[in-house]
């Protein structure tokens, strides 16, 4: 039995479009190295040059955030299920609001014109936050 890894849409260019790939390794670090040997470049999107998990990437082992299980040193077992997701804050509306607002001080927000804002509609629908 191998370890199943769910790949978010944005990273499927590294897996030939596959939503789920399999890998092996005793730790998350080992697993990512193993995956990178078949899906070159994937590891580089998840791990920084300093060797830490990218701040805006969340990795879950059996639905639990790997940062609380030792991060890249987290122990893995055959049959584990790994999910990789971009970091979001609770809901897309709040998320978009927060992301956009946090990039500017309150004063800057007031000076901003609407056209300066990232209006690419990338961040989805409305949350209940």
């Amino acid at each position: 039995m191998a370890i199943e890894v769910r790949i978010p849409t944005i990273l499927r260019s590294y897996t030939g479009g596959a939503k789920v790939v399999e890998g092996s390794g005793d730790t998350l670090s080992d697993l990512l190295a193993d995956l990178d040997s078949r899906h070159a470049g994937l590891r580089g999107r998840l791990v920084t040059e300093a060797g830490a998990l990218h701040r805006f990437v969340n990795v879950y082992v059996n639905d639990e955030d790997v940062r609380f299980l030792g991060a890249l040193d987290a122990k893995l077992s055959d049959g584990d299920s790994i999910t990789i997701l971009p970091a979001v804050a609770g809901g897309a509306f709040g998320f978009a609001a927060a992301a956009a607002i946090s990039q500017h001080s309150a004063a800057a927000v007031r000076r901003q014109s609407a056209t300066a804002v990232d209006g690419d509609g990338r961040r989805g629908a409305v949350a209940a936050l």
Binding site: P86, G90, G91, A92, I101, R110
Partner: protein, 321 residues
């Protein structure tokens, strides 16, 4: 505890109720493992956000940022908007909410009923357009105040000063606190308080994992972590998918008679996970979790009926927490 001078004074002080039927059964002679629900839907507008809204407005008043008659501007269509609308009404402010024109009619009706003014942004531009519109309006009205719940320390402080002490008072034997992770205010504030008072307390986060559509084109390099978030407050963090959240939401009303929204189902799923681990390890556990709001606002999703697969389909692409 049943008489208050105004609705604002009735904020918080919510009941903590045991869940004898949903709590796991422990073997004969083993220490008890019990689940407790903090009924935040009993707040004035029916959600936990009343606490944060009240504290954020009060903090702005104390800092001299808000004076009677001022206008609060917030790009929100959810529970925070409804809470802010109520607080603004009773404290004498105007609230302007900016939201995409395609939000559910329940939300528009609720916000209007509570007295908020709504400015719609084009549906095609999604939430980003709502934020852009809010910014444009803010630029035209530099005297309007945005409270910004993701970075407002009064949001977390509301829970440090109220939710945390209430839980400890009602459940001195608490071993686990489980809540949803959105702005992170509930977990940061309550978690910090309980860590100071209870040795070995486990602070557990449940975050919603939406359908693929929601994450679809979200770029990893443009991620966002709320300013309030401090990972050192948490012990563990669970990601809960739509199906599990719906399953637990239904179980909660079916088995214990508590009708809650789907974010509560996600939280219950994490609470049950830690409760079952305690049973397995033969440890005593008093697991308190947050019921964020009632299920009323989510009836139109249709996800309370049909099979779990139907519900999952109904919620696909929606942000249910």
């Amino acid at each position: 505890m049943a008489r208050y001078d105004s609705l604002l004074d009735a904020c918080g002080g919510t009941p903590l109720v045991g869940l004898p039927r949903l709590s796991p059964t422990v073997p004969e002679g083993a220490p008890p493992v019990r689940l407790w629900a903090k009924l935040e839907d009993r707040n004035p507008t029916g959600s936990i956000k009343d606490r944060a809204a009240l504290f954020m407005v009060r903090a702005a008043e104390e800092a001299g940022r808000l004076r009677t008659g001022d206008t609060i501007l917030e790009p929100t269509s959810g529970n925070t908007g409804i809470s802010l609308a109520m607080v603004a009404k009773l404290r004498g402010y105007r609230l302007v909410c900016v939201m995409p024109e395609n939000v559910s009619t329940e939300r528009v009706q609720l916000l209007r009923m509570y007295g908020a003014e709504i400015i719609f942004s084009p549906a095609a531009g999604g939430s980003n357009q709502a934020v852009a519109t809010a910014k444009q309006i803010a630029a035209e009205h530099p005297d309007w105040v945005m409270l910004y719940q993701y970075g407002n320390e009064a949001n977390a402080r509301a829970h440090y000063e109220t939710t945390g002490p209430e839980l400890l008072h009602d459940l001195p034997t608490i071993t686990h606190f489980v809540a949803g992770l959105g702005t992170t205010g509930t977990l940061m504030g309550t978690g910090r308080y309980l860590r100071e008072k209870v040795d070995g307390i486990q602070v557990v986060a449940a975050e919603p994992r939406y359908g693929e559509v929601v994450y679809g084109l979200r770029n990893i390099d443009e991620g966002y972590v709320p300013e309030l978030y401090d990972a050192s407050v948490l012990s563990r963090r669970f990601s809960v998918g739509t199906r599990d959240a719906v399953l637990r939401t239904r179980q909660l009303v079916d088995v214990e008679g508590i009708f809650a929204g789907f974010s509560t189902g996600a939280i219950l799923h994490a609470a049950l996970a830690v409760a079952h681990e305690a049973v397995r390890d033969g440890r005593r556990a008093d697991v308190a979790f947050v019921v964020c709001d009632g299920g009323w606002k989510y009836l139109s999703t249709g996800a309370f009926g049909g099979t779990l697969a139907d519900a999952e389909d109904a919620l696909e692409g929606q942000l249910w927490a």
